[in-house]
Assembly symmetry: C2
Homo-oligomer: 495 residues x 2
Amino acid sequence: MNAHMSPEEFRRHGRQVVDWIADYMAGIESHPVRSRVGPGEIRDALPAEPPEHGEPFEAVLADLNTILLPGLTHWQHPSFFGYYPSNASGPAILGDLLSSGLGVQGMLWITSPACTELETVVVDWLASLLGLPAHFRTDARGGGVIQDSASSACLVALLAALHRASGGRVARTGIADRYTIYVSSQTHSSLEKAARVAGLGAQGIRVVDVDDRTLAMDPVRLRELIAADRAAGAVPAMVCATVGTTSTAAVDPVPAIGEVCREHGVWLHVDAAYAGVAAVCPEFRRLNDGVAEYADTYSTNPHKWLLTNFDCTVLWTADRAPLLDALSILPEYLRNPASSSGSVVDYRDWQIPLGRRFRALKLWSVIRWYGAEGLRAHIRKGVSLAQDLAARIAADPAFEVHEPHPLGLVCFRPRWPGLSPAAADAATLRLMETLNAGGSLYLTHTTISGRVVLRMAVGSPATEHRHVEQAWDDIRREHQALPIQRVTDQTDQTD
Amino acid sequence: MNAHMSPEEFRRHGRQVVDWIADYMAGIESHPVRSRVGPGEIRDALPAEPPEHGEPFEAVLADLNTILLPGLTHWQHPSFFGYYPSNASGPAILGDLLSSGLGVQGMLWITSPACTELETVVVDWLASLLGLPAHFRTDARGGGVIQDSASSACLVALLAALHRASGGRVARTGIADRYTIYVSSQTHSSLEKAARVAGLGAQGIRVVDVDDRTLAMDPVRLRELIAADRAAGAVPAMVCATVGTTSTAAVDPVPAIGEVCREHGVWLHVDAAYAGVAAVCPEFRRLNDGVAEYADTYSTNPHKWLLTNFDCTVLWTADRAPLLDALSILPEYLRNPASSSGSVVDYRDWQIPLGRRFRALKLWSVIRWYGAEGLRAHIRKGVSLAQDLAARIAADPAFEVHEPHPLGLVCFRPRWPGLSPAAADAATLRLMETLNAGGSLYLTHTTISGRVVLRMAVGSPATEHRHVEQAWDDIRREHQALPIQRVTDQTDQTD
């Protein structure tokens, strides 16, 4: 039987794991980007029952190599261009390791004061780096907090918005009025999920039209919808504007939307999950337009493009009172003089879960390792590589590029001359599947105006010019090799 | 400017961090258990603005030592007896390090199949270790999933319960009926929070009476409340029974509560956050009584007492259909053939957030390192130390012990002869504050029948007999030294 792992055993096995990760980093290009396993293969390779006796730690590493690695899609591979980046980095991994090693709970200030106070400092740092307004800071009426994900940040924002819209009644009576929230067809699905979780249901969600070209929310239509809902007796509770949508990185017109929100006293949440962190660069600071003047809450994800391992979403609020009122419950076993004094922050009241990891350590470690200049260099490199790629695609008459593409995401599709729209869409998906199955790159798709397009999101720290160039070569080669006639015959079987 | 940390730099700094943690483990008793800093001290010691230029990693470690360490309350200290344990362990830390190093996203099966399939395997393993029913497995109609916390697990359970109680209507109409949930005065506050989040409000929460002595929910009273609510037009949606309450580790009578739920078709969630993992030992398997027959959902926290760093709550359901129906939303950019085929699990539909870490690695690493026998030994040691402590306290006429205390938690208080109840409670709190300020141990309090009691939760892997013995010596010494007259004069100032 293994006893608890002693400090000396931890030192030895810890080095093995550090070496394993360093080797994985150094050799990541030897793996196909997307896993080639089929459903159930990994599960079937693992024992159905747990071991009765403890095993040496080396057994875990051996099974990691032989069983698990083939089942991984490698998000840190320099040719991973799917979804959005989910940056890891050395300083983030080590900051998170310190958090695991310390094993402290930061639910209340008193349960580990440094866990709370470092978090306040680093979210203030990040606000400063992004040029966010001073009233988002804890020493003003607002404050920032690390959430696990943009989904949770949006839910917390909605709960605060419902609290304000109801004058605090929802905490007592629940959803007793017809509250409505406003999104666009491009808004992340987590807003619909949040509305369902919060008890509004699908009928509480209004989908505002977008501009056909830019895919940005139409503030005129928003104003009409809110006025009509109000006239019909509904209570408009929140508008979610997006800075960098999940599908195409579209940017909603926050100032015009904010003006509508102000007219009607509606909470404005700005979801800048992907694009927000680009504001570390002065040339992208315009992504914040309207945030200082109008946003009640604002969130962005350092765990996407800012080198900080998942999970790390930062949510700021201009006024923490409705957020805390919506989420605070104080049982006897959590009472303590520091909290009662009101002189400390208890982050459990800023989130859904009670418990919390020391997540600030990884963001602190990242900001200190890179400094502001290093963070700017990382964003600029991703944008530059994406712009090079977009120029190449646009120069090829067989392809078309979706405009605009100011950041790290490029959406494009083959023109497929002579094919019907349905057949062309099937061919595009077939091209994607062929590329992904090949293992040399990974990309994903979306639809724009009903047509399938491919998405290449550039922004992994490992991605260099040669990876993007190779990807574009692979795409053109497979595009030319694709047996189009067969594709058109198989339209119905393609998903 | 620092570039990205290279694999070789990561190897070097990784070893520094591993050594730091090993040294921290080995020397943890040199720190006061509870931090002695005041509000703002840590914050004031840190720069108000982020660095422009990158810094060497050693600067992070230096500030960790000089600035942050004094601000930590050390949850892994062997004399930490507050709240409930939040076990860390070597294999868990290293499993989590592997998760950070791989940096994969497990939101969908396709985004890293091994991340999903290992999770299914290890939650099945844990079900097997705890003797949970076969229908909680994914290969039956149920399934398990790792959540961040019991709070989130309870919220997910409630959303599934509301879905079933409404026949799916809540997804469309939101909370349009008067849904009610049933808890006791001893139920964790996260249930009240979940009810508020889900749009039921405080008036949707029914607090069922508890037995004065055992503090267990009264199933007779539960039946009356449900019948009365139903007669009044409300829709009883969920009962939460607790196995090991946060305050005193009380155990609700799940079989009798389950019978009431079955009669009325009400969802039964069993919250076994703290105590559930004790069922790894056959002698505590009775904690599962009624779970197989009646529970719709069941959750327990390996991150409390089962050696797996926060965050790791496992939630099982007997029928995954209402849970998935309540939480599934599929935007175009997440569509993929594997998900469409229905042959894979997509865990994003089992939780609130979209993104997810590879958390299964740490639980897998723990189960393999310890084996079933090692996990049993750990639970038994905590129980044994707690029972020794309870016997010592019970043998001292100056103290009284709250009965029963079958697991690792002992609740007790000084008798304070001659003091009024209010003065005695103030004295008990004063004793706790004196002890915690001393730094040699940390304990917390609760109230039982309106009276303040102290809680000593034993179960940290580092805790040995001598730490419990020393704690009891400290408690008796400070109790004898406490200037009682001054305390009674200051009753109003004590919180």
